[in-house]
Amino acid sequence: MEPRVAVVGIGHAGFAPITAGLSYKELMFEAAQRAYADAQVDPRADVDSFVCCSEDYLEGTSIFDEYVPDQLGAVQRPVQTVAADGLFGVATALMLIRSGAARVVAVEAHSKVSDVLTLGAIEQFAMDPVFNRPLGVPALAVAGLDMNAFLERTGLTEEHCAMVAAKNRTNALDNPRAAYPADVRPEDVEDSAPVYWPLRELEVAGRADGCVVVVLAAEERAGDLTEAPVWLLGAGWSSGSPTLESRTWGEADFVARAAERAYAMAGIEDPGEEIDLAEVDDVYAFKELQHLEALGLGTAGGLAEMLAEGELEADGDLPVNVSGGSLGQGNLFEANGLARLLECAEQLRGEAGERQVDEAYVALVQSWRGVPTTSAAVVVLGNEEGT
């Protein structure tokens, strides 16, 4: 389908547990300045449409879309808010460009979660008010239930999950943006306190502030804006049941459906062979494995082997979360997807420094909206060699 769409600029700000002394607007302004400079665009003249990603309760403001245009250069322009992770914003930009409504689109997502004092109560507020909330079910409990069902079904173990947590925290040591780099061994993870067993403290991504702005352009404009376009080869998104009672536990079927669409659009038939690196959701360590399985990048048994042989490490056959993932970079909430896209864009441009993966041509990005949702988006990116 035409036209082709490319990432032509990307910028970020924050990526710290607390960004004290910066308002969310100022955080967005810094990320936007960098993205527009990267794409060499003037948002007042060159960007046709703006997409922001946010949720009211994470901001403490109702109708948060009121507060986005000024710091993005989007005043008196077409601006919309998508109540979703940033990758859904990228999907929206893709549709806007393909429809002909825009040639250049800016997508923004941020987290200023350090403004929030009662995150647990807010996360619980996402659950059914009549049947779930009276039981006092924190988000971590839902993650613990899903982890236990996942391990039961696949035969993967707590040790495998600990290896994921250790890998990602250690990867973050090479990532200057990461908020939670640490020299963590699997045994440290297994020794950490259970929060909602089998889920342990070091398997839960710490929260962080940050903002990412991405500029996407139709092919006809992309050539003018960058020498190193990162092509959006495929995008897919899907939801499952939002209801705890009627969803498929222990399995991310919605990720599999999203991937199927993204692969079909990108013409990918054998993801394990064709994808050179992946940045996938790991807000809870077991989720990385569950998502890799749903993405068709490994079976339960295969993943155990890949972990044992270091194939998911930065220098392995399928580097996963070289950035450090959410465990290493911090949980950026609606900005998680764009943070992963940022890593892949840098990798595909050959700008990832210490973390640079050899022969990186095609990258996969996946996000999940967190408990209690069953919504996920998948994007496949490629550089000129990867198309």
Binding site: G21, G60, G120, V130, P138, G144, N148, L244, G250
Partner: protein, 160 residues
């Protein structure tokens, strides 16, 4: 930006909240479920014949095919433990005095699971696949709430 707040005593914060509360009706399907639970101690579900799927609690519609459903199926009171978790922290991460156990149970006759507390798991470790049974509050204490169910208890061996 050229100018930033660089001194810790110059960071300004402002407190706030959402100064409202909410009242949630259980809806058309929820009303049927909670009425039966309160009055009869029965757990009702809704069956979609087209999708061959039985929901619990009751639902007005099938999320898979959009068919209109009724509250025509009675489920349980026993079922199978599909997953469980043992919690050591509260909503904001504060340590709990006593761990809590939550379980997902597929009641006999249902495809969906029901989420609730697992009561007194005792010394014997719980196992996924184990048989459990619903424990209800006494009839006179029931108000029409999911808390009219106290939780699940491991089923006695003879009831297997």
């Amino acid at each position: 930006m050229r100018e930033k707040v660089a001194r810790p005593d110059e960071v300004r914060r402002w407190p706030g909240d959402f100064p409202v509360a909410h009242r949630y009706t259980p809806g058309l399907a929820g009303d049927a479920f909670l009425t039966a639970l309160r009055d009869r101690g029965a757990i009702l579900g809704s069956r979609c014949e087209r999708c061959a799927y039985t929901y619990v609690p009751t639902r007005l519609f099938c999320e898979r095919c959009f068919a209109e459903l009724d509250a025509g199926v009675e489920l349980g009171p026993e079922g199978t433990l599909v997953s469980f978790t043992i919690g050591f922290v509260g909503l904001e991460g504060e340590p709990l005095d006593r761990p809590v156990t939550l379980g997902l149970v597929r009641l006999d006759g249902a495809d969906a699971v029901l989420l609730h507390h697992v009561l007194d798991p005792g010394d014997e470790p719980l196992e996924i696949g184990e048989r459990v049974a619903v424990v209800l509050r006494a009839p006179e204490e029931r108000t029409g709430s999911i808390l009219d169910i106290l939780g699940f208890a491991v089923a006695e061996a003879e009831s297997d």
